[in-house]
Amino acid sequence: MGQWGGYLQLILDGALVTIKLTLMGSALALVMAFLAGLGRLSHFAALRWLATTYIEFFRGTSIFVQLFWAYFVLPLLGLSLTPLQAGVLALGLNVGAYGAEVVRGAVKSIGKEQYEACIALNFNRWQSLRHIILPQAVVLMLPTFGNNAIELLKASSVVSLISLADMTFQAQVVRAQTGSTLVPFLTILILYFAMASVISFAIRGLERYMTRGLDGVRT
């Protein structure tokens, strides 16, 4: 049936939206993870409190609820977002909250002697963080960040419920038009799995790249 070509195109259009959401969402999540993760380690109680509130709030309420809230309630409070903006905001803030704990854990796991060395070198706090602590901590964060990105990819399917035409949404459209259920759903399951595999490959590659020359330095 030549018709499938047109439907496959529809699903691929959706795949593009899914990829866009995943990339933009991950970028926002990365920024939020560092802001909130480092915020929790700040010397200022107000910052720690702010970061903790953000983390607990977004980890505590479901991504689904956050998305609906961003889509239906925020406009009533005067902030109108397109479905794509609402999707990126909800996904980024939600996964960022999980990422923040990863950042905090990694930074805290860097040995005390590293900080002492920074003091000996007369680095200020920002310099220590920028040149000594973070370069080591980021390597530790990578594998979990990879998992988080995959979680974000999977969670992005929820945007189909606020009528954003992502891959899941398009599969529903194809199903509604053809009456076939197996083909569209199986197609997108495979595509999602392929995307998840690309993410985990990329992260492993990045990890190898960043640990080059570190052999024997870290245990």
Partner: protein, 218 residues
């Protein structure tokens, strides 16, 4: 649009109906996930690669694809293959299978934590594999896993709103019905968020207690 307390009071009983289904789905889903995870973990340990490799692939596949699409698959595709499940059962199976692939990792780590000598001792005592698992390995491996398992059950709880997509009348679906009927989204959706936040915060406290009681692995 302003917050209307009278409306909140009016919709609260209906929302609580949804809370019941949400909690029921979480409990049943957790049981399925606990069993499925154990099965996956044991099969993946099999020395027969014809068994362990396909299981590994299936688990990775389920983990790498969205729960929402899996729910659609169970709900819409399986009837064509002759299996029609009620929405709640379809939802519970979807949750259980998906999170079973996560709990499998917990079991794997927990089982690996049991010292090799225990396996050897079991062999020396002439125990069957079934006896080895039920009498020796699992009783030692399980308690340290409890906090990690509980962590995934809490994560699962936060994904139950997805069941509304396959017409289960859980909390989120009740809230949407109310919103649709009254053209007011602000109160129902905010209340759902508040409910999830409260239960999550309480369960985090519970989790810390479990960690103190059983220690943590991984």
């Amino acid at each position: 649009m302003e917050w209307d307390w009278a409306f909140v009071i009016q919709i609260l009983p209906t929302l609580l109906q949804g809370v019941k289904i949400t909690i029921l789905a979480t409990l049943l889903g957790s049981i399925v996930a606990a069993v499925v995870g154990l099965v996956i973990a044991i099969v993946r340990r099999s020395k027969n690669r014809l068994v362990s490799m396909p299981m590994g692939f299936v688990a990775e596949f389920i983990r790498g694809t969205p729960l929402l699409v899996q729910l659609y698959f169970i709900f819409y595709v399986l009837p064509d293959l002759g299996l029609t499940l009620s929405p709640l059962v379809a939802g519970v199976i979807g949750l259980g299978l998906h999170y079973g692939t996560y709990t499998a990792e917990v079991y794997r780590a927990g089982i690996e934590n049991v010292a090799r000598g225990q396996w050897e001792a079991a062999k020396a005592c002439n125990l069957t594999p079934f006896q080895t698992w039920t009498r020796i390995i699992l009783p030692q491996a399980l308690p340290p896993m409890i906090p990690a398992l509980a962590n995934y059950f809490i994560a699962m709880f936060k994904e139950t709103p997805l069941l509304s997509a396959i017409t289960v009348l859980e909390l989120m679906n009740q809230a949407r019905s109310i919103a649709n009927y009254n053209y007011r989204y602000i109160e129902p959706i905010t209340l759902v968020g508040a409910f999830f936040l409260v239960i999550s915060l309480i369960s985090v406290i519970g989790l810390r207690w479990l960690e103190r009681r059983y220690g943590r692995i991984g």
